[in-house]
Symmetry: C3
Subunit: 143 residues, 3 copies
């Protein structure tokens, strides 16, 4: 299973992993299909948003902190319920289109790993699934 | 890559694109699999919810506006941070089941394109991925 | 279409369905690919989060209720707009990785069906999509 490792440096930090996912795709044989990018952690998430102006990510982080402050009378005793809540809000995975061996994303989009309880060493898994034509092509290779 | 274009008329507007996605599926050869519907814009999103009573969408839009008001001391200077934030909350894609050439969704469900910074001309991409049986069938065609 | 049925007992209730999804995968022939788990209801959702300490789910439910109270001057007259709003926030589907016939999820992760307008009898659909190797293998079987 192709995997990306990320060492975060702060409690809250968004890391643009678009190019790392692209490299995994380039290393594979897949030309057309989808890439399921999956975060196996419960206090982190994945999101797609603008990666040009870092103020966008800062604004997202600020509103998330207003909605789910770090300390808010939570029942869970590990002190990171805010991180769990934000993880469910943004989601544990993102699914991206691959065409001609390249991620097909919007001009201003980047894929971010969202750390909500760092600093930690994190992993992200990438499952590649071919579209019809790729499947047919892979079959030709088999024969 | 099959694509849908949408001309929105307001700053905030949810457009039901279920039938447009269904037409793309009908035009394809795929009978069973999934449809990844992808929004390449960072100030718009996709969501699945009730498309019978338009008050449901109005209620969703109102709460989103309460959580992320248009003006709220954001750092990003383009005046649309609220739209970026809502895009990450609802998500850039939705993945739908296809069986017997039809979208398999709930009785009350519709797929909405969510405009948060219109009016604009927008695009949505659709990647179709076959399930096992379809893959096998496509292989028979190749031989 | 493989299906899970869930009878919820309360208005708000998260049900861990990880093992039920695993059983559907075990019953299938698929070893590597993805499982699209889909909720066809507009007042329920799916999320992935910690399934070890039930306080995590309780904290998530409490914040969701603060953001979208049951009664809040909603336009939709069925009295369950809060449930529709929460459904769009968490999402109608989750996509999971399958390797060697097993769900590949994080150590602390579980997949939850999120009831927001129960008690009701609910369904969840599971679409299995093979990765490249599985597709090739299925082809060999065909020949």
């Amino acid at each position: 299973m192709p995997e990306i490792t990320i060492q975060t440096a702060s409690r809250i930090e968004f890391v643009d992993i678009t190019q790392q996912v692209q490299r995994l795709i380039s290393d594979s044989q897949m030309t057309d299909g989808l890439a399921l990018v999956y975060c196996p952690h419960t206090t982190a998430a994945l999101t797609i948003n603008e990666n040009d102006d870092p103020d966008v990510v800062a604004d997202i982080q600020r509103k998330l902190a207003e909605w789910a402050p770090q300390h808010d009378g939570y029942l869970h005793r590990e002190g990171n319920s805010d991180a769990h809540i934000k993880a469910s809000l943004l989601g544990s995975s993102q699914t991206l289109i691959v065409t001609k061996g390249r991620l097909k994303i919007g001009t201003w989009q980047g894929l971010f790993f969202c750390e909500f309880d760092g600093p930690r060493r994190r992993r992200v898994w990438v499952q590649l699934i071919p579209a019809k034509e790729s499947a047919a092509r892979s079959v030709n290779n088999v024969q």
